[in-house]
């Protein structure tokens, strides 16, 4: 039965997740600015707080106080609803993210399938923003984002299915338990799946070298050109929350989740996840951007066939 205890746990988990999303996004924006600055041999934010640590807080206050410019030509409903579609799936994905053995809102028995389904809703928000703005840059950015995200969805899902085949379960906690002896990234059958996952995940969250949806040198700001103030902040929040989610999934599926010696499990989970995010930032500020045809060619001509081949080989090795 849906007990009172469940209800209390649900509300507590919800409040903690919302707090975590806000703090994590603010931290990641500051961290990204610092990492990029140091890669480019400059300081980045330095004025607000210790090494600019409160810069993000100042930015949030600024964005709250900014005027909301509504383009008269925009498709009002679609334009207004798009920020919801960008953030709500990210919040919902947290239901199955295991911070530790106990700290998981709900260990759904179809966890992996649920997270695949819910994270792919974000593309609808991006496309709604691109279409609803009634702006040529936004439309092009939205089209590119949709094409890119759905193309890289396939290698992403296939690499996750490979993990499911080895772990023999769709539950996130059971996948973590299956890695007690050996992290899946070091599992001989799954190293390639891990590599495919991290490439496809970079494309899923529209980060350089796969950031053509908002290539600022050609499309101004891509799909969110016409958004300002808090609505723009929602897209930003959704983007950084998605970065956290794909890294948390990578940690859970390939790096042993919250398992580790000495330190408490949640510390291990956060260290691994933020480690992956820092790696993604390092990639972002090192590689140049690809062209749209190179991007699609890479997804369909190389990554998808390789993922299928990997799946077939892993299946054969497991059956023996």
């Amino acid at each position: 039965m849906f007990t009172f205890l469940n209800l209390i746990f649900m509300v507590m988990a919800g409040v903690m997740v919302l707090g975590f999303i806000a703090v994590s996004a603010m931290f990641l924006i500051w961290w990204e600015r610092k990492v990029s600055a140091h890669i480019q041999n400059r300081y980045g934010p330095m004025r607000v707080g210790w090494h600019g640590a409160l810069q993000s807080v100042a930015d949030v206050i600024k964005l709250l106080l900014k005027e909301d410019i509504r383009p008269t030509k925009a498709d009002a409903w679609v334009w207004w609803l798009a920020p919801f579609f960008a953030v709500v799936p990210s919040v919902m994905a947290f239901v199955v993210i295991p911070f530790s053995k106990e700290l998981i809102p709900r260990d759904l028995n179809i966890g992996v399938l649920y997270i695949m389904a819910i994270t792919s809703v974000c593309v609808i928000g991006i496309f709604m923003a691109g279409w609803g703005s009634n702006n040529k840059y936004s439309l092009l950015g939205g089209m590119r984002a949709a094409a890119q995200i759905i193309s890289y969805e396939l290698p992403l899902i296939l690499s996750m299915i490979t993990v499911v085949m080895v772990a023999n379960s769709l539950s996130m906690q059971k996948i973590v338990e299956a890695q007690s002896r050996c992290w899946f990234i070091f599992h001989p059958n799954l190293a390639l799946a891990g590599l495919i996952y991290i490439i496809a995940a970079t494309a899923e969250v529209n980060r350089t070298p796969f950031d053509i949806p908002e290539a600022e040198s050609e499309l101004v700001a891509g799909f969110h050109t016409e958004y300002s103030g808090m609505k723009f902040a929602m897209f930003f929040l959704g983007e950084y929350t998605n970065v956290f989610i794909v890294s948390a999934i990578a940690t859970t599926l390939f790096l042993g989740g919250w398992k580790g010696p000495l330190l408490p499990p949640i510390a291990w989970f956060l260290i691994k996840t933020y480690g992956i995010i820092t790696f993604l930032m390092w990639v972002r500020w090192t590689f140049p951007r690809l062209r749209v045809d190179q991007l699609m060619g890479f997804a369909w001509k190389f990554l998808t066939p390789v993922s299928f081949l990997n799946l077939a080989i892993v299946g054969l090795l497991l059956l023996k």
Binding site: M10, G14, E67, D68, A147, V164, G229, A312
Partner: protein
Amino acid sequence: MPQESIITDYGFVGFFFLLGIFFVGAALTVSWLLRPRDPNPIKNSTYECGEIVKGNSRIQFNVSYYLVALLFVIFDIEALFLIPWAVTFRELGIVSYMEMMGFILILLVGLVYAWKKGVFQWR
């Protein structure tokens, strides 16, 4: 009690859905209470780098986007069929493995056909 457990599971999913809407709604409402309002026709026109807007934004786009979306639908449904198979294929044994590989192979022939037809060439 599997039935009750499912209700609790999706109670969580539903609650997080409402929570997400509440989060965005609250942020937009707070901003709505605090922000200044000073619209004018020029400010509210479509942004085109400061130039006077030319034509409509509902432009024709490259047909390749549409073809890629079609291919995605086919392969996404295939991935959906793969998920239940991936959990149970060890019990089902070699026969189910061969059947699934046949299924994948048939769809890969389609991918090769699309490739040869030049779907992935962006002109």
